[in-house]
Amino acid sequence: MDYNILIGGAAGQGVETLSSVFEKVLQRNGFKVFSIRDYMSRVRGGHNFVQIRFGDQELFSHADELDGIIALNEETVELHIGRLKADGFVICDKQVAHADDRVMALPLVEVARRVGNARVSGSVALGAALALLGIPATEVEAVYSKIFRPDIAKQNAEAALEGSKLVQPRYNLSLPVDNLSLSKNSLSLPKGGESILINGNQAIALGALAAGCKFYSAYPMTPSTSIMNYLASKMLDAEIVVEQAEDEIAAINMAIGASYAGARAMTGTSGGGFSLMVEGLGLAGMLEVPLVIAEVQRPGPVTGFPTRTEQGDLKFVISASQGEFPRMVIAPRNAEDAFYQTVRAFNLADKYQIPVILLSDQFLADSTVTIKPFDFDGIRHERYITHTVEDKPYKRYKITPTGVSPRVIPGKIPGVTVLVDSDEHDEYGHITESAEVRRQMVDKRLRKLEYLKQELQEPWFLGDDDFDVLILAWGSTWGPLAEAVSMLNSRQRTRYAALVFGDVWPLPTKLLVEKAKKAKKIINVEQNATGQLASLVAEVAGIFCDFSVLKYDGRPMSPRYIFEKVREKE
């Protein structure tokens, strides 16, 4: 059982606040939530909406069909009523013109004014919606007090209460909530505490903090900025430097400087900023300085669609920067994965002394989901730092069987100095012109890539072993795809299975080869126009897809979209 409510309006009308209150109330009532955000690259006007899907089972994706619409303006009704179920509802102000009997035109603004502030009309609508759905409004006030100052919180709560009186319950969606596993933990979590409601960027930011990241430098860029925002909010408490750089080039070079000096360091951006970091990426590769970079994709080329989603940068990030050096690229598949992969990224960056890129996207970055709280107890910080030195002078680039050289932090061992150089260098970090040393150093660096392969995580497998068609995907399409595969298989016809890659470079091929052998047909499902995973798979494993399901209009694929497109080709 799940429901799907859309909240829409112009930028500046408070869609975002209203939605996050709604989500939190749902969460605290024990529901599982999955919401997506569709907004325009502007501050006022235009049209923004959030789709909040909730139910009693875990949700991995949004859906197209709507059970309800909360419309803060007329445009919202027009734009979305086509997707409303026959028995769905629309809540809007009575000023809004309509000719559909599913529309409930309520005196939202009037009530808000009565409460004392016309601007809380959204909360009136919220109260009405909750009442209609039969969801207890008990948590509303608590949520408001978490985000507003007391007087404003009170006003909004009152508005919600008044709103609830405008309608009769039509659904009865209250859930019995009791298994508050977390509250038994050291934390004192209120009701609903068995889940956290988090988006992909917050999960990355929290992962970075959990990994002991002490330095984050970035330049604002949608949709990556909220990583910086969350980290900044913890700057003083967690004692992490969060520095807004003058440009992305500075951002990455600062982070490399900080990492060289011994801090776990990270930068984040979207494709355009990453373009400017390309030389810095190579610097981390050549200096063998650990670095974590979050690249939160949006549709390109260049400025493209700043607030929308795409998986268009895969081939770019795996081959960015001149010359050849090891790097790792991980595409988190959901918020939980984003957290743990971020921690893993820091550990692998340190272990192999390489840059690790977290390749996320706007869909994952901005969609919120309820998941079980992250397990902090399993987190290990492995720094791979040496405190004693055998060779004098110290060989920063000592040739070793794995290619990884013992790392000393500058200033930490009296008498030992650490020299790094972006020119080709010898074991001491001194510039060389020698052909022989060059060969050894290239081999050393590339050997790390070979050893890195032992760390690779095979893609997630969806479906049963007994399948006809294999679907290949990566990153955030996991959610919609998981549901699409269930939908496809529930028909008892062609049987589908899927591999969803998280580690995309180096690309793990064991499971891929194994499953591809059994497949009668292979389909790649990607949020881009050229099928970048498919060409990577062709290159690396010699496996060719039979056809592609691609979407590149900036809007995320829904389970139904994938279902339809795949079925078309059956």
């Binding site: 969460q27 505490g193 002490k214 330095f215 500075a250 610097l283 002078p393 930490k412 009296p414 030992v416």
Partner: protein, 283 residues
């Protein structure tokens, strides 16, 4: 502690190059300040000047052309115990790296920036740099440089730098003393060091500089910003060397309590239970 702490390997510089004196002055300055090699980090970009970290036994970071400053401030922010010094060229600092120059003056991280200003791109064989004089003919500026040089000293003062000096590689003692002051200054300090490039700058030679530079004496007050800007504009027949502007102001780390107090950031353990508590933000 003796100069020999800072072992030098064979350099790739041309005989007669001003860089040698700068390197010597640096070693002397570090010695005077009693710094041990592992306590110092020298950061360079790419260029002839930027090879300095290669030729001295301290911690060394030769990064990207134009990007020495961000790497240097990143390192300093997380380990305030390091003495961080940037050595790099005029092209590197004011050309490719111009944006970092502007904005790191604003940040005022406690680092020292020594620019080997030979008014030319040395390593790439003699194109005009941002400080090349008008009319200077090169293989690219075939009809003579038409873009007026920027004045780094004036610029730095205008941007609010707290320590701005000009020096000349030909006067090693004076240079050393300025370096000592610059390193001691709390916050970002700039020393634009006039440096003859015997191979590619046949205009601003050792003689050219020697004839023109004069030392600022006691009578000069480096704390008056407007006067300092006026002094900074002196260029041509007479070029002042010395500390042109000086002002104490809080550094980046001074302004952030957790950086100001306590051990360097890299020495602090991660409090995982505290981080775990942040889960509360999501319920």
């Amino acid at each position: 502690m003796s100069n020999t702490n800072y072992v030098i390997s064979e350099t790739a510089w041309c005989p007669g190059c001003g860089n040698f004196n700068i390197l010597e002055a640096l070693k002397n300055a570090l010695e005077i300040l009693g710094k041990k090699p592992h306590e110092v980090l020298i950061v360079g970009g790419i260029g002839q000047a930027a090879k300095t970290p290669q030729y001295i036994n301290t911690n060394g970071f030769c990064g990207l052309h134009g990007r020495a400053l961000p790497a240097a401030v990143g390192a300093k922010m997380v380990n305030k115990d390091l003495t961080v010094i940037v050595h790099t060229g005029d092209g590197d600092s004011y050309g490719e790296g111009g944006n970092h120059f502007i904005h790191n003056i604003r940040r005022n991280v406690d680092i020292t920036h020594f620019v080997h200003d030979n008014q030319i791109y040395g390593l790439t064989k003699g194109q005009a740099s941002p400080t090349t004089d008008l009319g200077h003919v090169t293989e690219v500026q075939i009809a003579g440089n038409i873009n007026p040089p920027l004045n780094p000293v004036l610029l730095a003062i205008a941007l609010g730098a707290g320590f701005v000096a000009r020096a000349f590689s030909g006067d090693k003692e004076h240079l050393t003393s300025i370096m000592v002051e610059a390193i001691k200054h709390k916050g970002y300090s700039l020393v634009d060091i006039l440096q003859p490039c015997v191979s590619f700058n046949k205009v601003n030679t050792f003689q050219w500089y020697s004839k023109r530079v004069y030392k600022l004496d006691e009578s000069y007050d480096p704390t008056d910003k407007l006067k300092a800007m006026e002094k900074a504009m002196e260029w041509g027949d007479r070029i002042p060397i010395g500390i042109i502007y000086r002002e104490e102001k809080p550094t980046y780390c001074d302004k952030i309590e957790f950086l100001r107090e306590g051990p360097p950031l890299i020495d602090r353990p991660v409090d995982i239970q505290k981080i775990k508590g942040y889960l509360n933000d999501f319920i």
